[in-house]
């Protein structure tokens, strides 16, 4: 099409502009390379004299020229140039589309209109450069090699080191006779010599008696596991393999007494108190008692009551909780908060009390407390965590108890139920048939249980937020809440 020639001319013009910009871009790159290369003959100026300066200048110019030529003669796709023209002149892809469709075999009738429209707009455009100038990364570093070259050109020539390398060939008799003379050519003759040292008087080796250290290596007390592991007496003794084996046996025996091992698995970071304390902190959040939501306060009190109820012993904060609930019913938020604080304080005290001496020390609680609890009667059952059902060394392993049966007699704390195989549970009201195997007994304080409570709490919170955000139908909301309630009751 004849009209399309206007568009082709535009594309050629843009192509030329692109070539010039590319030539600039590549010339700068070449200049950088040439400047680096020019430094080499300048370094060797002492040897080459004026020729080095000429060579440096030639390399610099050649680098720039070669770069410019490479940039100018790189291929410019016509489609790219047309797109650039569209962008540069705001032609909304008219030129690229028109050129593409002008000779298209399946051209639609609208293409004629498109070409005419594109030509009209191209002829109306104002002449200006549309190709932006791009600088290579090397451009900002060009002054460095140029300055270096200038310094090298103006400064006196760098002297080359003189002298020959030593002759490594087989030496003749003369060489051996005059070693100092030959070395004198390469090295300065007045080189400082290292000062002579006085001969050190060394002590003679004597036999040492490897006596044990005072206080170390004594017999360890039973149950003092830490002391056994801290025993360093072996290190100070003279090598005695039998003694080493003996000590090793003793340690292995101590390891077998699992009931005396320190409780390393207990997770003290997630305790009842801590969870409730976190909740109470979230609840208050710097608010005055009258600003606290009664609903949330009730939830927290319920939670504290539930935690207290789960323990086999009556919780000391039950009275405070009841008082708080009563105050809440009467609309006395402040009083309810006070009661909650008291309950929290009791919970904290109990927590701290429970943590006393339950560090990494081995041995039984009763032993560490110096027998404060006193002997128990045969009918008294221990609470959770109490492991004093059997005398020392008995009943912990099959066949070691007093009972002729391998597993020993059922413990008193298991309520004499022959079907209860060690899981301590609580019977629920209304479920008389079957045996309750829930883990509400000892299991309530184990780390996994506490983590479970924590996770369920987090999920409950996320669920409430999601329900508020996602517009869940009310029927479904009820189902979801029932589901979480069921999870909570487990």
């Amino acid at each position: 099409m004849a009209e399309a020639s206007v568009l082709h001319r535009l594309v050629q013009q843009v192509t030329r502009e692109v070539r010039l910009r590319r030539a600039e871009f590549w010339a700068l790159r070449g200049l950088f390379g040439g400047a680096l290369a020019a430094a080499v003959p300048l370094v060797a100026r002492e040897r080459f004299g004026m020729a080095a300066l000429v060579a440096a200048g030639a390399l610099l110019v050649a680098g720039g020229l070669i770069g410019a030529l490479v940039g100018y003669f790189r291929r410019v796709p016509p489609g790219e140039a047309a797109r650039l023209a569209d962008r540069g002149f705001g032609l909304q892809d008219r030129v690229a589309t028109a050129l593409e469709w002008a000779d298209h075999p399946e051209r639609s009738p609208l293409v004629d209109g498109l070409v005419a429209d594109a030509v009209a707009r191209v002829t109306q455009r104002t002449q200006r450069r549309i190709v932006p100038r791009l600088l290579p990364r090397e451009a900002k570093f060009i002054p460095v090699p140029l300055a270096l070259g200038l310094v090298l050109a103006l400064a006196p020539p760098i002297p080359f080191p003189k002298g020959a390398l030593p002759n490594f060939q087989a030496s003749t008799g003369d060489d051996e006779e005059q070693p100092k003379e030959r070395a004198g050519k390469l090295e300065s003759s007045d080189r400082p010599q290292a000062a002579k040292r006085d001969q050190v008087q060394r002590a003679e080796m004597k036999d040492r008696t490897l006596a044990p250290r005072a206080g170390g290596g004594g017999p360890t007390q039973a149950g003092d596991l830490a002391a056994v592991f801290k025993d360093t007496s072996l290190g100070s003794r003279s090598p005695d393999f039998n003694s080493f084996l003996k000590k090793g046996d003793e340690r292995i025996r101590m390891l077998e007494q699992v009931d005396k091992m320190p409780d390393l698995q207990r997770d003290f970071t997630q305790s009842q108190y801590k969870m409730v304390f976190q909740k109470s902190k979230e609840l208050r959040g710097g608010l005055r008692p009258d600003q606290v939501s009664p609903q949330k306060l009730r939830e927290l009190l319920n939670e504290m009551e539930r935690l207290g109820r789960k323990g086999s012993q009556g919780s000391p904060w039950a009275g405070d909780i009841a008082e708080g609930m009563e105050a809440l019913e009467g609309g006395q938020n402040e009083r309810a908060m006070d009661a909650m604080e008291r309950a929290l304080s009791k919970m904290r005290n109990m927590e701290e009390k429970g943590r006393e001496g339950k560090g990494l020390r081995g041995g039984r609680e009763s032993e560490r407390r110096g027998g404060q609890r006193g002997p128990r009667g045969p009918g008294q059952s221990g609470g959770p965590g109490d492991e004093g059902d059997f005398p020392e060394g008995e009943g912990m392993f099959p066949g070691r108890g007093k009972s002729p049966t391998p597993k020993g007699d059922p413990s008193q704390r298991l309520r004499g139920n022959p079907f209860d195989v060690g899981v301590e549970g609580e019977s629920r009201s209304g479920r008389k048939e079957g045996f309750d195997t829930n883990l509400l007994g000892r299991g309530q304080n184990v780390p996994s249980r506490l983590q479970y409570l924590g996770v369920v709490g987090q999920y409950r919170k996320m669920m409430e937020e999601a329900i508020a955000r996602e517009q869940v139908p009310r029927d479904s909301q009820a189902h979801i809440k029932q589901y979480f309630q069921a999870l909570d009751e487990r």
Binding site: P77, G79, E80, R83, R94, A98, P109, V111, A116, V131
Partner: protein, 345 residues
Amino acid sequence: MTQSIQPAESQERRVQEFVTAFQTLRTEVQKVIVGHDDVINHVLISLFAGGHVLLEGVPGLGKTLLIRTLAESLDLTFSRIQFTPDLMPGDIIGTNIIVEDADGRKHFQFQRGPIFGHILLADEVNRATPKTQSALLEGMQEHSVTVSGTSHPLAPPFFVLATQNPIEMEGTYPLPEAQLDRFLFKLRVRYPALEELTEIINRTTRPREVHVQRVMNGEAVLRFRELVREVPIAAHVGDLASLMILASHPQWERAPEVTRRFIRYGASPRGAQALVLGAKVRALADGRYNVSIDDLRAIALPALRHRIILNFEGEAEGIDADRLIEQLIEAAENLSATGKDAFLR
């Protein structure tokens, strides 16, 4: 292509005719509807592209009024179906009833439902059961309905405009992906601005009634639809449309990170068709003979927002489909050669 090559003046006249018709129709609708210029434009684009529109917005924003006004501006038959949970497919398509002829013999006769109209307003489409919603499927895609083994064609132009409310989700049945995909555009109707609200009050609380004139007939709509398909699109623009679609697929090896992270299923090829057809109408309405990259950018949101299905992470983080699509457009442009100065180096 078998079409004869016509002089440029003739093409220019055709395009000008379209531009005038488009603007006239928009002006008629704007006599009643205040603001929502984008929504009106996209509804008209959809009409001339031959697609259907889903309008989403809270009650009282004028969705139904907009559609009714459009129907009044066009010389076409208009049906309205209020979707309710007890609506049955037969209530939409029609049913066979027993009729008695002059000889006293009884036979079945097909009683046409409201789908047999040119413009169908499916109000609160998500309130009907999926079974009833699916009654629209065949009509929307095939432009025909089949009852008792007999296919009944729908008279062209057939244009479905459905509305749904995003807030009252209780007792609703969200449209399945298959049906959503059949809508060319999903448009979000937003709250009016202060000036617009004042103008709404002025227009609607005075005794003066606004009369809308019929400015276009069905034949013109069909003619313009033909014209739209003739609009040429450059290869690099078409490639960009394809890249936009592919960039929404997490399985694609060059998919951007945001896609892999938040999208479960990307847009279908129907999405690409919607993108290009919508861009063609937009270009023509702007008086241009070709599709530009700007057209694609403008059409991408309504054409793709209902075709991208977020994964769990995307939904949990409350990712907005519109923002995601904007990122996809950017990623697609980076992937394509357009907008890059790389070749200058």
